[in-house]
Amino acid sequence: MSGQPNRTPRPSTGSGGSGARDQVGRLLALVPYIQARQQVSVEEAAAEFGVKPEQIVKDLNVLWFCGLPGLGMGDLIDVDMDAVQGEGVIRVSNADYLRRPLRLDSSEASALIVALRALRDGSTPEVRPIVDRTLGKLEAAAGDGAALAAQVELRLPGQDAAAAELRERLHAAVTRRRQVSIDYYVPARDESTERVVDPLGLVTAQGNDYLDAWCHLAEDQRLFRLDRISSAEVLDTEVADHTDVRPRDLADGIFRPSPEDAQVTLLLEPDSRWVAEYYPTDRTEEAGDGRLRVRLRAGNPEWLVRLLLRLGSTAAVEEPAEVSAAVHRAAVDALANYEAFGAYDESSSSSE
């Protein structure tokens, strides 16, 4: 280090090295530094930036090749190299756009603030204070510039406090290798079951958080969607050894139909075409008039009947016939309820 030892090099200039990264950082700080002072001696600049005077001269030799896109004579930063060589004094012009140190404009600051708020909602207790500190500094520094951020309201599904707490608890169980007893809802079977699982990890796919675990009830590896876990109790029991179980590769999606699953062919009216986007299909073909013929696999016949009850007349089962018979039967059973309970008798008697 040269020059005046009582001066501390600016921390923002990094290690003061001659590498390209250090040099770019130094150049970006050097230009506003010089501009604020009209002219600076090479010695002084070197001391301020904690490098040798020769390094500053090298930097300046790069600087005068820099400028705005176009890089014509008028676009380049003008460094008076004669003054540098002769008087040891730096003068820079034609770089007014670098007068201020690098800073965020209002939309950049707002974008950062909004992003940090999103992080905050989903963060763990260790991370949250860091996010809060950063947010505090940024909001204070941005001042009115952060007004845009105030217009943005973030609501992330499943990111409320209860969900964050559950995720935290499961994460702890994964790291501490403890079994967890969960109450889990399976929509396809309309079942809520309590089961003990060995948690393997937390994964996120298609916008949902899942617990990857070995399920002692199913005696197999299963994924549990966090928003379907209604309660979770971490047990004292250590998890069994699952080194033979591979972590889930979710690149192909969550649901993987098995070749043994029953195949069905549905004819979807335009109102039900979403089914082909929502569930994995084996084949789809246009069937005219906006209708779509899809072939898909249903591992669980109950799930299929539920789906078809919802779709009603906007979907028809082409095969197999058992499925349409099951849907018909379910509809008849459900109608019988309406005859047994409530106001159905009055409304139907008039039309019979």
Binding site: S107, L148, Q151, V152, E153, R155, Y185, P187, D190, E191, S192, S230, V305, R306, L307, L309, R310, G312, S313, V327, H328, A330, A331, V332, D333, A334, L335, A336, N337, Y338, A340, F341, G342, A343, Y344, S347, S348, S351, E352
Partner: protein, 108 residues
Amino acid sequence: VLDRRSGTYEVPEGTDLRAITSMLAPAPAERTATVLVRQGAGHGLRRHAEPDGPETPQGWDRLRVRYAGSGALADEVLGYGADVVVLEPAEVRAMVVDRLEELAGVSR
């Protein structure tokens, strides 16, 4: 209005971003329906329902369900087949009955 810097634009005067975004968000579940749910079934529905009164047929629970739109509630109820019965409102009940009749091939 496009700014000269690409990717930036002026927000038109009087724009209420909150109002626009909440318009795009799912409607809040402000209405309440009364349903019968077979005991041991309808778990998904139970997650946004609460008990409603004791006069209940044997083997059923009477619940109040919050919902946003009639069509969406009818869809949900239909998925439970014979395990859920809509008592009120009449509009949703009629919707469910109509669609069940279509499926059952009953003509009124």
